[in-house]
C-alpha cells in the first residue's frame, strides 16, 4: 500500500525533515510497504494485555537535585561543537517571524 503524496508531506512536516524530490516516489513505496508489514500487528489478540514500554522496570530513579560542577574547559568544548556561535552563546535563528514591526521582533 503506497503512501500518498499528501501523507508523505504531512509526515515530513511533523518530522522536520526535507525529502528530496527525486526520492519521493521511492519513499512512498518503501514506507507504504513497511507500514503494510507492521500492520500485521492488528491481527493479534491483545485483549487485556498491558503494554511494556521500558527495557527494564526499575521504577522511578532520581538523583539528588544538585547541580554538577562543570569547568570552563567543558563549557568551551561544548560551545566548540556548535556550528554557529556568537561570543559565548550558541547561535540559532529567530523562531518567530519578523514580518511586521511588533513585539516579536524587538530585543
Amino acid at each position: 500500500m503506497k503512501l500518498s503524496s499528501e501523507e508523505l508531506d504531512h509526515l515530513a512536516k511533523l518530522a522536520r525533515l526535507d525529502v528530496p524530490v527525486a526520492e519521493r516516489e521511492m519513499l512512498q513505496e518503501q514506507i507504504g510497504a513497511i507500514i503494510g508489514y507492521v500492520a500485521s500487528l492488528q491481527q493479534i489478540d491483545v485483549t487485556g494485555v498491558d503494554p511494556t514500554f521500558r527495557g527494564v522496570e526499575l521504577g522511578q530513579r532520581l538523583r539528588e537535585d544538585k547541580p554538577e560542577v562543570s569547568d570552563a574547559e567543558t563549557r568551551a568544548a561544548l560551545l566548540q561543537a556548535a556550528p554557529e556561535k556568537s561570543g559565548d552563546y550558541v547561535k540559532a535563528q529567530a523562531a518567530l517571524q519578523h514580518k511586521e514591526k511588533g513585539v516579536a521582533g524587538r530585543v
Binding site: 511533523l14 522536520r16 525529502v19 519513499l27 491483545v46 521500558r54 561543537a81
Partner: protein, 482 residues
C-alpha cells in the same frame, strides 16, 4: 598462526614474553595490511595507541599496579563517545563532532589498562544489518570481500575476524552485535538490558540498545563483560546487584536446553539449519538435556520491533537539528533550517525510520501501532518467561542465512529487516544472548545463538565456551589471511 585472544595476550604480557609495544606494533601492522580491503575502521589512533603501549611497558617495568587488560588493544564502535576524539555514529551529521566526555564502557576499559586503537565503521546511528548504510563507505567481510560483514557493528566484527584486534565493543538493538559476529565467524555477546551502562552511547532505540562485545572466544567475552558491566549512576536503567562472575565448565550435565520450534520455520537456508542442528546434537553429547519449546508470540516480534524502533528513533533523532552540534544547513528560518539540515545530512535508512516512527506515533495511529506493539512486547516477554520455567537456555540460529553479496538487499529495506528475524525478540524481552560460530555453510560462517533468562550471561558463556573448546570451527581462517 591464528591471532591471539585477549586471554592469551593477557598471559603473554603478564609473563613478559611479549611487550605492549610489540603487541601494538603487530596490531597496527595487521590493520595496515588488511584495512584497504576490509575497511573496518573509520579512524585508527596510531600515535596515541603506540604511546599508550610504551607507557604501559614502562609501568610494568617499575612494577606499577596494572589493570587486568593492561596493554590489550581494543577497538570501539563509532557510536560511543570518547573525549577528545571524533565520534560520528557513521553519519555525515557528526562527521566532525568531537566528544566532550567519555562513555562509561570505554572509560572502564581504559581504567582496566586496555588501549583503544580506533573507532570502527557502522551503519548510520546503528540503523542497518549490513554496514552499507555508513557515510564513510562499506565494510567488507574478511571471509569474502564481495560480501557484507553484517551490521550494524560490522566494522567491529570485521576487525576481530580479520585478526586486527582481539576484541571490540559494539552495540546491539536488534541483533547488531550477534548477527555480524555470526556472519564473520566470531563470538558476539549482547548482555541483559541494563547490564552495561549506555552512558555515552548514541541513543538509537533507548529501551532496546545495549553495549556488548565482539571477541574470538566466549572466555574473552566474559573477561570484557566483567570489566564493562555494573551499575552506573549516569545511566538510570543500569541494574544494581552482584558483579558479573563466570567460571568455565567441563560438562553440560544438569543443563536443560530448549529448541524453539518457531525459529526453524521457512526462510532459513538449509545448510545453515543443518549446522545449527548439528550444534544442538553436540550440546546433547556434552551432557545437556534437549527439548522442544514453543514461543508463539515470537513470530510477531519482528513487526513489533519495526514499530518500536522507528518510534524511538524518531524521538532520539530529534536532537540532530543543526543547532548545538554537528553540521548546519542554513535556510530561511529556524524550522526550515531544521528540515534542511536533517534532510541533507541523514542517510536514507535514518530518514525512512524517522518517517515510519512519526507515522506510528501520530494522532490516530498511536493505539493501532505503537501501543499495540508494546502489548505484543509483553506477550513476547511472557513466552520467554514460561520457556525459562522449563529450560535453562535456548538454542537457535543467529541469522537465517550466511553473509550475502554487497548491495543485494540494500535497496529493499523490508528484505533487509527480515535478516533480523532471530535476534530482535531477545532485545524486545531485554534478555542476554550470545552468538558462537558453529561451522560453515557455502564456505561461510554460521552462528549459533544461545539465549538465557535475565543476568544469565555466566551460564551462556560457560556453555558457549565448552562448545567452542570441543568444536573448533574447522577452517576458521578468513580468506583475507590466505
Amino acid at each position: 598462526m591464528a591471532p591471539m585472544t585477549v586471554a592469551e595476550l593477557q598471559e603473554a604480557l603478564r609473563s613478559k614474553s611479549l611487550s605492549a609495544a610489540e603487541t601494538m606494533k603487530e596490531t597496527l601492522a595487521c590493520i595496515a595490511r588488511h584495512e584497504l580491503t576490509v575497511h573496518a575502521f573509520v579512524e585508527v589512533y596510531d600515535q596515541e595507541a603506540t604511546h599508550a603501549a610504551e607507557i604501559c611497558d614502562a609501568a610494568r617495568a617499575t612494577g606499577g599496579g596494572l589493570g587486568p587488560l593492561a596493554g590489550i588493544p581494543i577497538a570501539i564502535k563509532d557510536n560511543m563517545v570518547d573525549e577528545g576524539h571524533t565520534a560520528s555514529g557513521g553519519s555525515r551529521m557528526l562527521q566532525k563532532y568531537r566528544s566532550v566526555y567519555t562513555a562509561t564502557a570505554v572509560e572502564r576499559l581504559r581504567a582496566a589498562g586496555a588501549i583503544i586503537v580506533g573507532r570502527t565503521n557502522m551503519d548510520e546511528f546503528a540503523m542497518g544489518s549490513s554496514t552499507e548504510n555508513s557515510a564513510f563507505g562499506v565494510t567488507r567481510n574478511p571471509w569474502d570481500t564481495e560480501r557484507v560483514p553484517g551490521g550494524s557493528s560490522g566494522g567491529s566484527a570485521a576487525a576481530v575476524a580479520a585478526g586486527m584486534v582481539p576484541a571490540a565493543l559494539g552495540s546491539d538493538t536488534g541483533g547488531s552485535i550477534r548477527q555480524p559476529a555470526a556472519l564473520t565467524g566470531i563470538v558476539g555477546l549482547k548482555p541483559t538490558y541494563g547490564r552495561v551502562s549506555r552512558h555515552g552511547l548514541m541513543a538509537m532505540a533507548s529501551s532496546l540498545d545495549q553495549i556488548g562485545t565482539l571477541t574470538r572466544t566466549a572466555e574473552d567475552a566474559a573477561l570484557l563483560l566483567s570489566i564493562i558491566s555494573g551499575a552506573d549512576p549516569k545511566d538510570a536503567t543500569t541494574l544494581a546487584g552482584d558483579a558479573f562472575t563466570w567460571s568455565s565448565r567441563s560438562s553440560l550435565e544438569g543443563l536443560t536446553v530448549g529448541v524453539p520450534q518457531e525459529f526453524f520455520a521457512e526462510g532459513m537456508d538449509a545448510d545453515v539449519e543443518a549446522r545449527v542442528r548439528e550444534a544442538i546434537a553436540a550440546f546433547e553429547k556434552m551432557g545437556a538435556t534437549v527439548r522442544e519449546v514453543s514461543l508463539p508470540a515470537s513470530s510477531h516480534a519482528l513487526a513489533a520491533y519495526y514499530v518500536i524502533v522507528p518510534a524511538e528513533v524518531s524521538s532520539n533523532m530529534a536532537r540532530y537539528d543543526g543547532i548545538r552540534y554537528g553540521e548546519r544547513v542554513r535556510a530561511a528560518d529556524l524550522h526550515a533550517t531544521y528540515a534542511a539540515t536533517r534532510g541533507a545530512l541523514f542517510g536514507p535508512e535514518v530518514r525512512r525510520r524517522i518517517l515510519v516512527g512519526t507515522y506510528a506515533l501520530s494522532a490516530g495511529y498511536y493505539d493501532a501501532y505503537y501501543r499495540r506493539a508494546q502489548q505484543v512486547r509483553t506477550l513476547v516477554r511472557s513466552d520467554f518467561d514460561s520457556a525459562f520455567g522449563q529450560v535453562d537456555l535456548l538454542l537457535t540460529p543467529t541469522s537465517p542465512t550466511v553473509a550475502w553479496p554487497l548491495g543485494e538487499k540494500f535497496s529493499d529495506p523490508l528484505t533487509m529487516y527480515l535478516s533480523d528475524v532471530y535476534t530482535v525478540s531477545v532485545n524486545i524481552a531485554g534478555l542476554p544472548a550470545v552468538s558462537v560460530p558453529c561451522g560453515l555453510a557455502h564456505g561461510l560462517p554460521v552462528g549459533l545463538q544461545l539465549i538465557g533468562p535475565a543476568l544469565s550471561e555466566g551460564t551462556l558463556l560457560a556453555a558457549a565456551g565448552l562448545y567452542q573448546d570441543n568444536h573448533p570451527m574447522g577452517t576458521t581462517e578468513p580468506h583475507v589471511f590466505g
